[in-house]
């Protein structure tokens, strides 16, 4: 069926995931499909007005245009009632994954440092890009080889990561940069950076390594039918 049920949490051992649905989220069902149908991970949706998260190990903040992103990407979603509990969940050391708009929400909520600017081209970009795995010592990347080169799509208008010099140095010193845009060979350079991100940053984590924000969409690169499969190891790392 094309309509995915809005509620499904199977009892059992292992990772349990929830996907937060904001008004305007549109990669929520994509993440649901990958977790439930491809990885067989128990997963359920949580409506943003819900004050409390169900018991779970992983919270996914999916891509989309929360509240239309008319103000600033993610700027309103961070005030959604559910975000208080997402913060508590993160402070307790449990996993939070923000993809695309979810990453932007994590930045606005202060769960990760930095901000997003409009793409260097000033237009929306949707295409597969090359990424270099900078840190495979995180719960999200432990199934990747160190320095592995991945092909995963981006789809955003505001993915141009920016932060001040001290923050950048902090991210680098603490090895918190998890993915950088690169060439297929792994080489770094402006011509391989699709959106102008500072330091070619595509994804970062916190010091505790339980929060990951990334602009590329691993849920779009997890099935052979869709030609791209490099994102799958990210989900497998979590199991």
């Amino acid at each position: 069926m094309h309509e995915l049920p809005r509620q499904e949490l199977t009892k059992g051992e292992g990772l349990k995931a929830v996907i937060v649905v904001f008004p305007g989220s549109n990669c929520d069902t994509d993440c649901f499909h990958v977790l439930r149908d491809v990885l067989k991970i128990p997963v359920e949706f949580v409506w943003h007005k819900q004050g409390k998260l169900p018991q779970c190990d992983l919270v996914v903040l999916p891509g989309g245009f929360s509240y239309g992103d008319y103000l600033r990407t993610g700027a309103i979603a961070r005030f959604s009632p559910v975000m208080q509990d997402v913060k508590r969940h993160a402070e307790a050391g449990r996993l939070v994954l923000g993809i695309c708009n979810g990453f932007q929400i994590l930045l606005e909520a202060g769960l990760l440092p930095g901000a997003m600017l409009r793409n260097r081209s000033l237009s929306f970009i949707c295409k597969p890009v090359w990424l270099r795995v900078e840190n495979n010592q995180t719960p999200f990347t432990r199934k990747f080889q160190s320095g592995a080169i991945l092909q995963i799509p981006i789809a955003h208008g505001e993915g141009n990561y920016f932060c001040d010099n001290d923050t950048l140095k902090g991210l680098e010193d603490s090895q918190s940069i998890v993915f950088r845009y690169s060439a297929q060979t792994g080489e770094l350079g402006d011509e391989f950076n699709p959106n102008g991100s500072l330091g070619h940053i595509a994804g970062i984590t916190n010091a505790k390594r339980n929060i990951l924000g990334m602009m590329p969409h691993p849920e779009r690169a997890s099935e052979s039918l869709l030609a791209l499969t490099d994102g799958r190891a990210l989900w497998e790392s979590l199991v």
Binding site: P23, N26, C27, D37, F65, Y67, F124, R220
Partner: protein, 760 residues
Amino acid sequence: MTMTQNPPAITPKLIALHGITPEEYQMIIKKIGREPNLTELGMFSVMWSEHCSYKNSKPILKLFPTSGAGVLVKAGEENAGIVDIGDGLAVCFKIESHNHPSAIEPFQGAATGVGGILRDIFTMGARPIFLMNSLRFGKLDSPQTQRLVRGVVAGISHYGNCMGIPTVGGEVYFDECYEGNPLVNAMAVGLVTKDSIVKGKASGAGNPVYYVGPGTGRDGLGGAAFASRDLSEESHEDRPAVQVGDPFMEKLLMEACLELCQTDALVGMQDMGAAGLTCATSETAARAAMGIEIDLAKVPQRETGMTSYEIMLSESQERMLIIVKKGKEKIVEDIFEKWDLHAARIGEVKEGTTMRVFENGKLASEIPAKALVDEGPVNVREEKQPAYLELEQKLDLAGIPEPQDFNAVLLKLLAHPSIASKAWIWEQYDHMVRTDTVFYPGHDAALVRIKGTTKGLAASTDCNSLYCYLDPYEGGKIAVAEAVRNVISTGARPLGMTNCLNFGNPMKPEVFWTFHQAVNGMSDACRAFGIPVTGGNVSFYNENPQGAIYPTPTVGIVGLIEDIETRVPSAFQNQGDLIFLLGATRNEIGASHYLSVIHGRKQGLPPRLDLEREAALGRLILGLAGKKVLSSCHDLSEGGLAVTLAECAIRSPAKLGAVVDQLDMVMQSALGPQAQTGTEGKLRADALYFGESQSRCVVTVKPEHKEVLVHEAQKWGLPVFQIGKAGGKDLVLGERIQLAVADLSRLYEKVLPDSLNGGV
């Protein structure tokens, strides 16, 4: 009867300003038994406009075959047609124009075009699963065109991306005939379970009528706005005729409506697009043969002092009318509250067949619903074959010198913006969201899977308008045949056709003749292929000061692939695969891209299309795809064999070249009379390389599949030629062309960015 307003008398001038003829005005008086008031005049003017009533095109549109196996909702019955795809599922699709708004304000014009076509789909209870669009602009080197392209693409990107519905394909052409009058045709495809199809019917007396979505404003009063300005002292400022789109609002509206479709509270649903509240209320009532009453005081409004005329004619975006089962109001109100949307009860379904509009309890309008919807004027327009035709169709091939350097010709064709890569455009569209897109834009047809099944849906839009200009009947046939061929090339069986008929002013007998001819050609093709027409849209008055656009009957075909594992890509896949040309090649360079780009002549007869042969080619390809014999399949169109082979190489994942050195048999086989040449029996080299003979495909197979391919082709009586082998880094074509694929690719990719980057 008590009226709320005593507006200025209905003068002949006011009637004419509403686009209503004196004869039509007499019809109105007869329908309602008295003179209309201003609100009623406005309602008749929009409902009897060409856009809503098809008064000029209706007699011609009857030519289309509309029934067929699996058609669940026929053309004209509802907002969009629906076709069965098995396993309890059905597909709902439609294409619609937003040409004039896009010419005035490209960003909002294109954005609201996408918004409108999406509402047509989810109003049927179907979840939109992908978008496509057919865009036509003037010459790319004009700054005006560049501004329009940037605006239209950004508008489509803005709306579709935010809605989370992938834009997976379409077509983009550049020709001076579209200078100042671009075409923006948007197509949407949705999926619905057969048992949850929603109709736009106001049935059941006593059932409440709800208005959902944002408040009504004075926007979109369009050409009728002049009258409203005379009417209300508060509406003195000019309003844009182009509406402003809010995709976030529509996303919420879509989710709420689709959630409502899963309940038992819904009776009917209709979006408020063209003619707004007037159209939604009268059509739902007329379809159900019921009466309806609404009170405008209850309609959410975002401006003060709006008159009944303005509220009934407003085209504010993202609004829906919902008919609810009496007693289930709470279910509806709860769902819309969850999505932070208003749901206002504005009226009720009534016994009888009259539509009544009240304003604060006073009657503002009283009209039989059917008079507005079904009983409008039908005009039989005068037709006359245009004088240019005979002149332009004449082409003496002897006067067309064959070029010396075929490499240069191929490079020039690939660098033409109508052929060059459109990645600059489709990379601005989210074409992957929903994680169903199997073939990205740039294939012959888009292909998406249907999760939870083995099925996939393929879709293509097509129209060669130069063919339609030079021979509208043959051009109409070919538009259908090419779109069908594109869909079949992926391995999908065509299910149905939607169309967007873009023409000039129908009052000109020459324009109307081409319209009639093109529809004739399209209808004949649909009958020959057994494809029902499930709906579409007519857009007349596409003219600029230089005259009408080329006749552009854009065709959208949706096809079904039962097992997605039998899909066929369009580019070379494996080193060493054998390359075959299916179909016959003739001296057909009339109306070709080659003739236009290289020789600067838009002349000659377009290629002839044999419908039976085309149908046989389709059956052959589908049979081979089902047997998993084909590595790739790409149909031949603009630029002929050379451009097709170049595309197969450029688009191949490994940028595989080819050596095509067995063209002799194609040359020798090309016998037969050619009406337009004096050179029967001898195929010109430029016709072989760049001609556009129809019903042809380039396919590749692994060597072990050669016998099956040849055997099957002969079984269907189709010419089949082994012409070469895929592999290497160069494209080698006979003795005339040898170019590195990397160079072809660089050129192909840079044309649009070079013109469109910078100067934003």
